[in-house]
């Protein structure tokens, strides 16, 4: 439907112009562009970290611990004498990597579950969805702690944990999508064309049910990063002393009180900017999807 606009007055001969319309989606595009550029910058920083900093990720400058920004340490050093700037750069690798991998894993697992449950329905659906319920109602941090305690701290486990927390949402999303798609004629068309159930699932339902997933996933990446930071804050993050923003923030957070802002503000900003990038991207995509639905 139309935008509800009243038509402004004016001389009879001149055309009457209804404002708006031209801005539709421009903000969404801007958000998408802004988000994507932020993320590309972060990704570039991650890739070229060694070129952008003279210190290594865990290199200790023992003579200079907790020095303020400036001098040979662009953003100062932390309590271990490690260079903040280079750690902030290197951390992008882990943070981006874990967030993306975790969300990817969650998407894959959740989508598969959702597809199967939504398509076959019946008892299989009931059972799968109850399992999803169980996982979803299981508290995040306890799940994370359990995985960490079970498998030890490590990148893979963090990915598994964060994926486990997120997968149920995708399963629900995809299931709901599949259930509504299943009622659409194109599925009947595929069946009457002799497609096998697997074929229907794989070639017809899967590609179409991914639309909402595509929109949610970026938002979810941002959220995954925050979860990762939270886990680090609880000491369940990446293995020490690998650089990870959340871990750096949680180590340095208490320093702010003492005026040593540089140990936690730079990683905090990096995390913030990166999450914001994902959020902008996700929100932009969602806007666009909503606009399309309208």
């Amino acid at each position: 439907m139309a935008e509800l606009r009243t038509v402004p007055g004016g001389p009879a001969a001149a055309p009457v112009v209804v404002p708006g319309g031209d801005r539709d989606g421009r903000f969404a595009s801007r958000m998408i562009i802004a988000g994507a550029s932020i993320l590309s910058v972060v990704a570039l920083a991650a890739v070229f970290a060694p070129l952008l900093s003279q210190w290594g990720e865990t290199e200790i400058d023992a003579a200079n611990t907790l020095v303020a920004p400036g001098g040979s340490h662009l953003l100062g050093t932390d309590g271990n004498g490690m260079d903040i700037w280079s750690r902030v750069l290197y951390a992008a690798r882990l943070d981006l990597g874990i967030a993306l991998a975790a969300v990817a894993l969650a998407v894959v697992v959740g989508t598969l579950l959702g597809l199967v449950a939504g398509y076959f329905g019946g008892w299989l659906d009931d059972v799968l969805m109850r399992v999803v319920d169980i996982f979803q109602s299981f508290p995040t941090f306890i799940l994370a702690l359990a995985v960490a305690a079970l498998l030890g701290n490590g990148t893979i486990n963090l990915i598994v944990t964060i994926a486990a927390v997120n997968a149920p949402a995708y399963a629900r999303l995809v299931r709901a999508e599949v259930r509504s798609l299943r009622e659409l004629p194109f599925v009947d068309a595929a069946i009457t064309s002799g497609a096998s159930p697997a074929g229907v699932l794989w070639r017809h339902l899967l590609p179409n049910s991914l639309t909402p997933v595509r929109v949610i996933a970026p938002l979810n990446c941002g959220w995954a990063m925050l979860t990762l930071a939270g886990l680090s804050f609880l000491g369940l993050g990446v293995s020490i002393p690998e650089a990870e923003w959340g871990a750096m923030i949680s180590l340095g957070a208490a320093d702010v009180v003492g005026g040593r802002w540089w140990t936690s503000v730079p990683p905090g900003l990096a995390l913030f900017v990166c999450v914001l990038g994902f959020s902008l991207l996700g929100e932009g995509l969602q806007d666009r999807a909503n606009a399309k639905r309208r």
């Binding site: 439907m1 319920d133 109602s137 508290p139 929100e283």
Partner: protein, 336 residues
Amino acid sequence: MRILRFVVRRLLQLVPVLLGVVVLAFLLVRVLPGDPVRSILGQNATEEDAAAARARFGLDQSLWHQFLDYLGGLLTGDFGTSIQSGGSVGSEMALRVGPTLELVVISVTFALVVATVLGIWSAKRANRAGDHSIRIFALVGNSVPEFWLGLVLVLVGYSILGWFPAPNGRVDPDTGLTPLTGADLVDAVLTANGPATASAAAYLVLPVLTLVVGVVAPLLRSVRASALEVLHSESYAAAKAHGLRDRTLHHGYLLRATLVRLPSLAALVFGTAIGSTVLVEYVFSWQGFGQWALRGLLYRDYPVVQASVLVIALCYVLVFLIADVVHAILDPRVRL
């Protein structure tokens, strides 16, 4: 009553879920490495001492036996005995659930109100400066780690400005609050304790703010999108084209239709908020449920972990149930 039937049916559906949670939690804590009794025995304990302690907590029994005992206890409302404190888990938990629920409920409610007001405001001004800034603000808030925000709020609100009480608890002990539910503000109001009410409210401000900032963005986004959809819907256009007054339009045609989709998201947000209070509790010395559960897990206090998982799961599923009911009430199209 159809609603009642629906609720009963949903409650029945919860049984397998909760049972699953119980089983999963039970197994999970037991496969975790770590010995629950070692930490209560001291350094000089021998293997026999440890065995005796295990026997005290029934940990020497077969897994089945332990599980059936535990299940039997649950059915009679007995959550077992904490290994760390030796006290009843049920009563300890009762002390801890109130404060956390109070925090989360107030935060989510507040976030919902803010999201609704701002979301609709924003949608009505879609693609104008005000709309853009609100959305960006929400996104920014959403992108800050909660514990970090909490620390900064403490630094600013307490240390620098001195507007808020020290982050050392939930209510000033000098106000002599009599605990009833554990939720201090509620207790203070119930016991008509003026100073305690003021104090509890003051203590709530910063943690609530922290949580609200963390959760408001998705709610706002959803309200705004729904409101936009309604504003662009044929039905709204029809009402507008029939020349209805703005007030009528707002209350009769926009508000309810906009809020229809909010409950399930609110439930989801509630769930994540419960999950993330553990951090906020730490920062604000809130001593709620999250910290208790975390400690239980760190020390492998099996009954505590099991109970906390179960209670969180219960909250979660109940909130979802409530959300569904609210949705059904808001949306006449929902078939129960």
